[in-house]
């Protein structure tokens, strides 16, 4: 049961609605008001805690802020000196140039590689999770750990032999090779994220259908799968984000045709004739914004996803 923690354990601090509830309390009847007033006394400890919180939030947001404003500066201002904390000449020039020159094909490739690998990884990951949860076969725990341990592997160790194999098959600089690797490295994550969701589905309906003579595959398709739609979407978002952010494999396996967005960014950074920082910032913003949007949907599962479910969120 312990892995199934995320959703329930953290509701207290996850649910943004509770902020709203607190503010509604201000207009609540008298007894509540009294309670509210007691809570707003500002002791030194409380003030200090809020100051620390404020500093931390500013520290988290500042680099992102800097990146965003740099993307709206012109290139000479981007690097200064002096450093400007708000663009002197607010311009969309970098976005125009990015759209014309540096954004493609990286953006499309990133999108395709992440999307296709996500669909495959989530499908086969869900099947594996279902198998691990529903069939208590011998070595089940060993297989589960073995699958999980793939995520701890250093990518460079696989990248070296994989590069040679792909070279011999004339598959370097293709999306196919990238997708294959992204599926491989994200399937363990998908298995691990899906397991607790599968466990939460009552097994009785499946058993009844099996007793009625339906084939296991049919039972899975008709009964289990529809119940797993939302968990699969959640898992898909994580897998998509990790594939979208991936850098090392793309760096080693792509040259021209299959370059992804992070590679487009890094090749701007390696420009020997001068680095165009405003361009880098613009592409980086393009790389970050979709992730921030997707993040909204999976926020409460973050701890599970980033710690293999080993820590309660």
């Amino acid at each position: 049961m312990a892995v199934r923690t995320d959703a329930h354990m953290t509701e207290e601090i996850t649910d943004t609605k509770s902020i709203r509830k607190q503010t509604e309390n201000t207009t609540a009847p008298a007894p509540r008001l009294a309670q509210h007033r007691r809570r707003t006394t500002w002791s030194i400890g409380r003030i200090f805690a809020h100051l620390a919180l404020l500093v931390m939030m500013v520290a988290v947001l500042f680099p992102i802020y800097w990146l965003v404003i740099t993307s709206f500066k012109d290139n000479s201002e981007a690097l200064g000196p002096p450093a400007t904390f708000w663009p002197n000449h607010f311009t969309l020039h970098s976005y125009e140039v990015a759209f014309k020159e540096s954004l493609f094909p990286g953006l499309i490739n990133s999108f395709l590689a992440a999307l296709i690998s996500t669909v495959i990884a989530v499908l086969i990951g869900t099947l594996a999770a279902y198998s691990l949860e529903r069939h208590h076969f011998r070595l089940r725990n060993d297989v589960a750990f073995w699958i999980l341990s793939q995520r701890m592997m250093p990518p460079i160790a696989v990248a070296i032999p994989f590069f040679l194999v792909m070279q011999q098959l004339h598959l370097t600089d293709t999306l196919f090779a990238l997708i294959l690797l992204y599926v491989t490295f994200n399937t363990p994550l998908a298995v691990w994220l899906m397991r607790p969701f599968v466990r939460d589905i009552p097994v009785e309906m499946e058993q009844a259908a099996l007793l009625d003579g339906y084939k296991p595959l049919t039972v899975f398709r008709k009964i289990t799968l529809p119940l797993l739609k939302t968990p699969m979407a959640t898992t898909a978002i994580f897998v998509y984000i990790f594939a979208w952010n991936e850098f090392l494999f793309a760096l080693i396996l792509t040259r021209v045709h299959a370059i992804t967005l992070p590679i487009a960014i890094s090749s701007l950074g390696g420009n020997p004739y001068g680095v165009e920082w405003a361009q880098i910032a613009t592409l980086s913003v393009v790389a970050i914004v979709p992730v921030l949007i997707l993040y909204i949907f999976v926020q409460r599962y973050m701890v599970t996803a980033l710690t293999f479910g080993s820590v309660k969120g």
């Binding site: 312990a2 892995v3 809020h50 000196p81 450093a83 990951g125 297989v143 999980l148 040679l164 080993s310």
Partner: protein, 291 residues
């Protein structure tokens, strides 16, 4: 019954995938590490036995890479963990406004593109138009022109600061959740006994946080041995070799010098280190993972 074999069909794709895409390449890499694969010897690389491993042990850059990795590991993890525990303690109060908002923000650094993060910090630490020098100059009252990325020790510091930025908020949330998940009675008892806050922290809170701290140290330790993207974007391993971690050096040997035999041997050393860390992790967190 046919049911008993269905699980094989369901789990087969995952297992086949890992066998062909991870296990086979790893064996291939083991084979490579025993051969002198270079750009000139790529068709029939000669068998060299354990020469590549012996070469690693005699290679100052190998030891340097290991040292750099360990420095990042120790410094970054110490600061991140202490800072996160302190923040979690402050946020564990029941009367914090904006805790939910912090939770929303806290995951963002760990989730956004590490290459974008790397270049953002490169930009922040840039000697001319970087915000770090501007802010330092504002505090000091005179212009500061520190070349952060250009000098060895500060370049390493820039990498460490980036890692701290990425992971401290995340760790804070983990430790905060662990703190809020502790049972309340021991705290009540300690308060009735008029124990000092420090004593309560040491004797009640900290022991309760130890499982979460251990697991996070292991996960972050594994992460740091795999660290690549931010180093590539911030320093490219430089200046000189100052920020070349073991993983980064392996990449350079493999894909800048194309000595893939030697690089494979280096990557196997990395594998073994991570295997040990991962085994400890699975042992430690295993009970909870298996539920």
């Amino acid at each position: 019954m046919q049911k008993s074999n269905t699980w094989i069909i369901f789990i087969a794709p995952t297992i086949v995938l890992i066998l062909t895409m991870v296990v086979f390449p790893l064996f291939y890499s083991l084979w490579l590490s025993l051969h002198g694969w270079t750009i000139l010897n790529r068709v029939n690389p000669p068998f060299v036995g354990l020469d590549n491993y012996a070469r690693a042990l005699a290679d100052p850059l190998f030891w340097h890479g290991l040292l750099v990795t360990v420095i990042i590991l120790v410094v970054a993890l110490t600061i991140e963990t202490l800072l996160a525990i302190a923040m979690a303690m402050l946020l564990a109060r029941g009367d914090i406004v904006g805790r939910n908002m912090f939770r929303v923000l806290a995951f963002i650094p760990a989730l956004i593109n590490p290459i974008a993060t790397g270049y953002t910090f490169h930009l922040l630490f840039h000697p001319n138009g970087g915000a770090v020098n501007a802010l330092l100059g504002f505090v000091a009252g005179h212009p500061v022109n520190l070349d952060w990325i250009g000098s060895p020790s500060t370049a390493l510091a820039a990498i460490i600061v980036t890692d701290i930025w990425q992971w401290t908020p995340f760790l804070t949330i983990v430790f905060l959740a662990a703190r809020l998940g502790l049972p309340g009675e021991p705290f009540e008892a300690a308060r009735i006994d008029r124990a000092s806050p420090w004593l309560i922290f040491r004797r009640v809170t900290l022991p309760g946080l130890v499982p979460a701290i251990t697991v996070m140290l292991l996960i972050r330790g594994i992460d740091i041995f795999k660290l690549f993207d931010t180093i590539y974007a911030i320093t490219g391993g430089g200046p000189g070799t100052a920020t070349q971690t073991l993983g980064f050096y392996t990449y350079l040997v493999g894909f800048n010098s194309f000595k893939l035999g030697y690089a494979a041997a280096l990557s196997w050393v990395l594998n073994i280190i991570l295997f040990i860390l991962a085994t400890i992790f699975l042992r430690t967190a295993g009970r909870r993972l298996l539920s």
